[in-house]
Amino acid sequence: MVGVYRELEGCMQLFVHVLRRLHVLRLPPVADVLTRQIYFTGASATAGIVLRGAFIGTLIIAYVINVLDADAALAVKILLWVVLREIGPLIAAVLVVQRSGAAVATELALMTVSGQVDSLRQMRVDPHDYLVVPRVIGIALSNAALTVYVQMIAVGGGMLLGPVVIDASFEELADNFFRLATPLDVAYSLIKSLLFGAAIAVIACYHGLNPPGRSFNAVPRAAINAVTQSTLLVMLLNVVFAYVVYGVLFFGLIKAEV
């Protein structure tokens, strides 16, 4: 219990540090790390993540529409509320956890046990400024971008697949979708994906900088801790987010009316 509290406290401190020290992103070495992180998480992974996201999104659409025996209006609502608002950000986040969360935790844990983090301190470079701030911002931005890709592909795939399983044309589905969708839907999923990305990165950085030991055996354990905990946190945040937005904060404003 004490360990869990310590980890939560450590992650919160890292997150606060990131918010307080955003200005270090202007420093050339930190900006380089940010660029590399965005390239690694947002660019080089795009094809694989979008493809996997599209498969999952399209599968959900086909399955749900078929099971519910939906008409065009219901199919569009499912696309909007399930895929755009919920599944899109969640799929992107889970895929980013698997790839970037594990990579960041492993890289930082290796740097910690091999004394490279100490080298930064010896150069009077704050490891949190140089290692954590650009990774958290880079992963949060990349996760938001990947979410948009996944949403576009999954919704597009659903619209393409819809006419095969229900009695509605692509034009009808698209027309209904753009009539029903609001900027609030996009803002909701973007804010959520930014938060997911930041949470994944903070947990990965925390476990990378605090591996359970100083030997190389601690490196995979740090990665496992980061992946399991950030997956759990993403799911938890999704539930809290859905409850706050649908249940309390905007109740009635964007409440689903199926």
Binding site: G115, S119, M123
Partner: protein, 217 residues
């Protein structure tokens, strides 16, 4: 290089603080006493037989925090009497070269060299290419061959030279070089020794302290 074995038994020896680049000593209440004292200016080689003491000295200087029962003087200032801000300012005047160069594994030599300058004084970055090239040429390390290498592709000497150049471009008033000779053959030691020469050529009032293993005298 001046040989200056300067580890002595602990005695309250009065000294002119201004002339001291680095002093580390046990205070009177500690039974097993010692005193390490390095005067300002030039290149000093300090041999310390006790590896723990050497590590403790490095840590005390890097953290600007003498442990209990210890007194640390850096560049004429007794660290224990300084406020936090003064310690930070004093720390900024000290450069440290670890035994294996202290390089980051995912950065090439050039990125490693300019990392602290880019973090602390980004306005100086445009001048760095010329300065680093000049330093590497002086050390006999061809910049074109070295600067693109990752640490895993470097020899130990190249790692030490890269770490050394990283310290030199910051022009600190005091440089602590830890085990610079360690793991090098005689010819390579000669090359590594050029780091101190290059430092003193560009920073005539600086002090280069080389901490090595050896019989404590």
């Amino acid at each position: 290089m001046n040989a200056d074995p300067s580890v002595e038994d602990a005695r309250p020896v009065p000294h002119a603080a201004e002339a001291i680049a680095l002093a580390y000593e046990s205070t009177a209440e500690v039974a097993a006493g010692f005193r390490i004292s390095v005067p300002q200016g030039g290149c000093r080689r300090v041999e310390i037989g006790d590896a723990m003491l050497k590590a403790e000295l490095c840590r005390a200087v890097l953290d600007m925090h003498p442990g209990p029962g210890r007194r640390l003087t850096v560049l004429g200032a007794e660290v224990g009497k300084l406020a936090a801000g003064e310690r930070a300012a004093l720390r900024a005047r000290v450069g440290f070269l670890p035994a294996a160069g202290g390089l980051l594994g995912n950065l090439n030599a050039w990125e490693n060299i300019v990392l602290p300058i880019g973090y602390h004084s980004p306005r100086q970055l445009p001048k760095m290419a010329q300065r680093v090239n000049a330093l590497l040429n002086r050390l006999g390390a061809p910049p074109r061959a070295l600067l693109g290498k990752l640490p895993e592709e470097m020899t130990l000497l190249e790692k030490k030279l890269t770490g050394g150049v990283r310290v030199l471009v910051e022009a600190p008033d005091l440089v602590l070089a830890e085990d610079l000779d360690d793991g090098l053959d005689a010819a390579q030691r000669g090359t590594a020794a050029r780091l101190a020469e290059a430092y003193l050529a560009t920073h005539s009032r600086g002090t280069w302290v080389q901490l090595e293993d050896g019989a404590t005298t």
